[in-house]
Symmetry: C2
């Protein structure tokens, strides 16, 4: 079997220590190809660029690894990788990250890192997003690399159920204190949002988003609970948002009905 | 009972005919409050603005309706509405749209319209996104308004199961040809993407996203199938992305395991 082709992307850009850690890990398994944004794209969710043209620039960042910077969002990076740069090749795995900061619980929805991984999954590629629960630039990725290595190895061996991908969050702990990996569900939680209000230099009012995340810890199966208890949290996620239980409820409430004027 | 407070938003901006149609419909049920982006935000998904401050400007667009333009994404609009503008009030319903263009199948993931509705749902507000399957500015919203009226009425009467919201897509047909409403699941599909390649005025290469959507029509329960057969498609969706079946599969594959060096 030929060496697997692994696409690496992220939302923090090419010069973030997190993507360097992921490239170093992934290259132990096969050929690595990098397409990452040329600017910080945290919080970009599943945004795509349709009103503007996109640019791709080849860069030399990782020795011996073909790498491109893209002017768009993380999802744009994956679309350009699959449709232009690697159009005629089979991508065996996409890994996104390692993000500087948690993408557990509802944070998955806002995350450019996870949306890039989901886009690859939607194109039929096995895909994993990795995040370390430390927002700082100087975060210590050494334990995260060990777990990324383990999970990439398992994924290349077994694959991931079709249409699914993995959201992997690693607690901000030294390797010796991490208790292992746990399969989890996406936890509930909410952002206790504050908008910092101020006046700009022209005296115009602005609002700047900030806040603190409040995770629900009462579900023993949640990613948030696992992280709080020293485990790496692995959540299998999907792009199908349907709630099947609610389909039944709405049917009983007769939300579906024929148009009385059509016969 | 006092009149319900209804938050209206969209991703096409305050001057799109689609939001006017929705405001006209919603005001028949209660007090309407509008917060919408000040620029086109299609394809923004669940993006939020964290690197830049946001602006809010009160505008007079709809007679007798308090309305604000926001410099950010559709999700930003909802966050500013709930945390600043309507901070001390209970919002009974959020309606987003009516979008110019389909948000059925996987399009829900890219949609600013649907992400705004989802953000409201995550804050505990009953929430519905409406889309008309016609991308043109001059689309005919008359049938869409009739069905928006019906579904808003049912939602105000019954509510929506907690943590869920409705993705409503309306076929581009005259009212008399629409067969009624159907409760559906999110259909599978994919974008057959093409990047238009060209040179900018400075001779630099660009890539501009385009393509055509290919919906899978072989699921009788899918929104795509319902729309193709002349029905309004109502999909109950959720923000919990967990795939529970895959949790079992990964457990059997031993993706979860203790750290051997921790005792």
């Amino acid at each position: 079997m030929s060496k697997p082709l692994i696409l690496v992307t992220n939302d923090d850009g090419m010069n973030a220590p997190g993507i360097r850690s992921l490239v170093e890990t992934a290259r132990q398994f096969g050929e690595v190809f990098v397409v990452a944004p040329n600017s910080a794209q945290s919080g970009q969710g599943h945004a795509i660029t349709i009103e503007d043209p996109l640019r791709l620039h080849r860069v030399e960042v990782f020795e011996g690894i073909e790498s491109y910077e893209c002017s768009g969002t993380p999802v744009d990076c994956v679309k350009l990788a699959t449709n232009i740069l690697l159009k005629d090749r089979k991508i065996d795995l996409c890994v996104s990250g390692i993000n500087h900061g948690s993408n557990a619980s509802i944070n998955v929805l806002y995350s450019g890192t996870m949306s890039a991984a989901m886009e690859a999954s939607m194109e039929g590629i096995n895909s994993i997003g990795f995040s370390l629960c430390d927002y700082s630039f100087d975060a210590d990725f050494s334990a995260a690399k060990v777990y990324a290595h383990q999970i990439i190895a398992e994924t290349l061996e077994h694959g991931i159920p079709k249409g699914k991908l993995l959201n992997v969050n690693i607690p901000n702990l030294p390797l010796q204190q991490i208790k292992g990996t746990r399969i989890c569900r996406q936890g509930e939680g909410r952002w206790d949002e504050k908008f910092q209000e101020g006046l700009d230099p022209r005296g115009q009012k602005y609002y700047w988003l900030t806040g603190s995340f409040v995770g629900e810890s009462n579900s023993l199966l949640s990613d948030h609970f696992a992280l709080e208890n020293g485990y790496v949290a692995i959540v299998p996620i999907q792009h199908d948002l349907t709630n099947f239980d609610a389909m039944h409820t709405l049917h009983h409430l007769q939300f579906d009905r024929p148009n009385p004027s059509v016969h």
